[in-house]
Structure formats: structure tokens, C-alpha cells
């Protein structure tokens, strides 16, 4: 059990909103599914998130965002990952994101967007299927 490969996930809150309840619920759910969750707290810049993801060698970045700045901050994370040759890291997102923005975010490279009401089991399944 202790020797197997573990999925490492960075849960981060980019930007200026101060609500981390959702991020903590997700972190806890992923923990209970056997993953190692690195939780970095509020108000992270995309640069901080990407550097942290690299040093922690995570498989997944989960970005929780409720501020409305998702169309700027989320593609920025993707762009920085590419600059660092780390685009193999799966990036998913959750929070208050309007339906009409989701397609654009996916085109920018966000693997999936989970809106409020999504069962945590769905997120866990998605991660387990998509991490090689």
C-alpha cells in the first residue's frame, strides 16, 4: 500500500477571491480517495501556482475560482505550464463558471470544468481516468 505510486494534486485558488470552502471540500474528498493533496491557500498568482506544481511534481492542478476572472487566470496557468515544458500536468477547474465560458476554457487547455453541484466522486473518477 505505502509503496505504490500516488496521484499528487495541487489544489490552488488563483486570484483575489477569499472563499476556500469549496477548495477544502475537494481537497478532503481527494485525500479520502487516496491522493496526496498539496493545498496552498488563498490568493495565488498563476506564476506561484505553476512554480509550486513543478517543485511538488504534481500530476494534476485543480483550480478553484469564484471571482469571475477565470477567463484571464486559467488560460494564463496553461500558458505558463507550456513555457516551463510542463504541459503534461492535467489542469482541471471548478467554481462559479458560467456555462458559456466553459467551451473557451477547454479550448485553452483546461481538461474539465466542474461547476457547483458536481458530486466529488465524478471529479475523483475523472482524475483517476486521465492521469497516466
Amino acid at each position: 500500500m505505502e509503496d505504490t505510486k500516488k496521484i499528487r494534486v495541487l489544489i490552488a485558488k488563483p486570484g483575489l477571491d477569499g472563499h476556500d470552502r469549496g477548495a477544502k471540500v475537494i481537497a478532503r474528498a481527494l485525500r479520502d480517495s487516496g491522493m496526496e493533496v498539496i493545498y496552498t491557500g488563498l490568493r495565488q498568482t498563476p506564476e506561484q501556482i505553476v512554480e509550486t506544481a513543478i517543485q511538488e511534481d504534481v500530476n494534476v492542478i485543480g483550480l478553484s475560482i469564484l471571482s469571475g476572472a477565470h477567463n484571464f487566470l486559467l488560460p494564463k496557468v496553461i500558458q505558463l505550464l507550456k513555457e516551463k515544458n510542463a504541459e503534461d500536468i492535467l489542469v482541471i477547474s471548478g467554481g462559479v463558471i458560467p456555462e458559456e465560458d466553459i467551451l473557451g476554457l477547454k479550448e485553452a487547455g483546461i481538461a474539465e470544468v466542474f461547476t457547483p453541484g458536481t458530486p466529488t466522486s465524478e471529479i475523483i473518477d475523472f482524475i483517476k481516468t486521465h492521469v497516466k
Binding site: 500500500m1 505510486k5 478532503r28 485525500r31 493533496v37 490568493r43 506561484q48 517543485q55 511538488e56
Partner: protein
């Protein structure tokens, strides 16, 4: 062998990937560790241990900042507990270290204990070597929040900071065995709280009892990590202690013991693995017999040892 060169040059992605290989117990990791070992031994390894919530992460954050202002390169390993039930973990020490994330001269890695019970993870020891070889001047290792007896950090660190806070018990706690015996420097954090001075007195008294024969009593330093109070003094104290340890050969003795323990540990693991694979059937057979009380466990073990040496 690109990885080796990249690690020695301090490439963060390569360091991070190598630490993952170590955590996964990959054979490749061992081969790389063999090759980088000659480059280790230069960094000062400082352990930070103490109860949950005593302020270890905040203290590491402030220590790193002062060391950075002296242009030192810092590697940080922060350990948090892995669930014994699910194998998952929440690694949250970075929350207190956000400002360090973009500092070129800092590398931070969070680790789950993954079944180890002594306050560290097994991979910590080798991860520290990687950071050492990559050219870090200081390696700060933050243990999980500990209780009374998780003392693995004493096996890994050159200097152990034991972080305590006021209001966690009476003076008898200060004379108990275990964790109280491994502190090289006692840090009384949150020292603006009631009882800080009394705690300092209690610890100094207790240390006076234990360390009468030694020339250097562990210093006791008051800090308020969140405000940066006392941190300069702490860094100076670490430097003074370092001078003392190196001058008196104490550091050499510590490190020699550490390396001896490591080799013995590796030997034990490998011999045990060897026995477990070669004699698995025989062991099961003896287990069955012992369950039926036809043989005792002591004789069962002796039978295997005898067969092994034949």
C-alpha cells in the same frame, strides 16, 4: 545521464522528478543517488519539530527569508501525515510559505509520511541528499506535528530545533524522555502568550538537570514567528551552534553515526527481503506450526537463521 547533471546544476524540475522517483522506490532513483552521493555533505541540515500548530511552518518561512537575505540557497522539505486508512494526505505546510514560491533560491517539497511513524517519511533521507547535491546551503526539514516520541529527525538533521508553545503542560512535561532529549535549540514560539517566561524557566531548569556534564546547554530562544520576532537571534544561535559542532568534531560524530545507521538499515532491509523471498514457504509452514503450538516463535526464527547460514 542528463538527470544527474541537471540535478547537480540545481534544475528544479529534475530535482522534483527525482524526489518522486525516490518516493516511488524506483530502482533508477537508487542508481542516480549512487552517482550524486559524492556531491553531498555540504549543506547544513536543520530539523524543525514540535507539536501540531506550534508554528513550525511559519518559523521555517521566516528562517528561510533571513537566510535568503544572506544569499544562502534553501531547500525545504515539509512533512505532513498520510492517512493510515486511505493512503491519502493533505499537505498544507506551504500555506505559510507562499512568499517563497517564486524565489529562485528556494525549493520546497511537501511529503506525506506514507506509513512511517517517526515524524518523517522514508523518502526524506534521500530527498535531503538530492537537495544537498543540488547545491543548497541549508536544508530545512519540517516534521509532522509530533507528540512525545517521534524522534526520527534527530537521525537526519545536524541541528534540531524543538518548537514549543506556552500552555501545553506543566514542568513535568519538560523532564520527560523522548522528544525533549533531541532538541539542540529550544524555540519558544508564540511567546507573546501567557506563560512563555515560565516555560522558558521550566525548560532551562530541566536542561540544567539533564545536561550538567555537557559544556553547551541547548539554548532557549523566544520567538513570535508570524511577526518575525526572535528569528534573527535564532539564526545567529544556529550559526554559533554550528561553529561549536564543527570545532569540537561533534558534527563529524553525528554524521558518522547517521551514515552507519543508514548502511545498517539498508543491510537489514536487504537481508530481510532476501530471507522473506527465499524462505516464504518455510516461514508459512512454521507459522502454521506455531499457531498449533507445536513450535514456539523463537525456535521458528532460529530454524530459518540456521538454514540461511548453511
Amino acid at each position: 545521464m542528463d538527470t544527474i547533471e541537471a540535478v547537480l546544476n540545481g534544475n528544479k524540475r529534475s530535482i522534483a522528478k527525482l524526489i518522486t522517483l525516490i518516493e516511488e522506490k524506483s530502482h533508477d532513483a537508487k542508481e542516480i543517488l549512487k552517482k550524486i552521493y559524492t556531491h553531498t555533505g555540504k549543506a547544513r541540515i536543520i530539523g524543525i519539530t514540535g507539536a501540531p500548530g506550534s508554528g513550525k511552518s511559519s518559523l521555517v518561512d521566516k528562517l528561510a527569508k533571513i537566510l535568503r537575505s544572506k544569499n544562502k540557497k534553501i531547500g525545504i522539505i515539509a512533512v505532513d501525515p498520510t492517512s493510515p486508512f486511505t493512503g491519502g494526505a493533505i499537505l498544507g505546510d506551504r500555506i505559510r510559505m507562499q512568499d517563497l514560491a517564486l524565489d529562485e533560491g528556494v525549493f520546497i517539497r511537501s511529503m506525506g509520511t506514507r506509513g512511517a511513524l517517526g515524524g518523517l517519511s522514508k523518502a526524506c533521507y534521500d530527498a535531503a541528499k538530492v537537495l544537498d547535491a543540488s547545491g543548497m546551503d541549508y536544508i530545512l526539514i519540517e516534521t509532522v506535528g509530533v507528540g512525545q516520541s517521534e524522534i526520527d529527525i534527530a537521525k537526519l538533521a545536524d541541528i534540531v530545533l524543538l518548537v514549543m508553545v506556552p500552555g501545553m503542560g506543566d514542568d513535568v512535561q519538560a523532564i520527560k524522555a523522548g522528544i525533549m532529549e533531541i532538541g539542540d535549540i529550544f524555540v519558544i514560539n508564540k511567546s507573546d502568550k501567557d506563560g512563555a517566561d515560565r516555560l522558558v524557566t521550566e525548560i532551562e531548569t530541566a536542561l540544567g538537570l539533564c545536561f550538567e556534564k555537557k559544556e553547551l546547554k541547548p539554548p532557549v530562544i523566544k520567538t513570535i514567528a508570524t511577526e518575525g520576532y526572535g528569528i534573527e537571534e535564532l539564526v545567529e544561535t544556529i550559526d554559533v551552534l554550528w561553529e561549536y559542532l564543527t570545532k569540537k568534531d561533534y558534527l563529524k560524530i553525528k554524521r558518522t553515526n547517521r551514515i552507519r545507521q543508514e548502511i545498517i538499515g539498508l543491510l537489514t532491509e536487504s537481508v530481510l527481503n532476501n530471507i522473506m523471498t527465499t524462505y516464504s514457504e518455510k516461514i508459512e509452514f512454521l507459522v502454521e506450526k506455531a499457531v498449533k503450538r507445536q513450535i514456539d516463535p523463537y525456535s521458528a526464527a532460529e530454524i530459518i537463521i540456521k538454514e540461511k547460514s548453511l
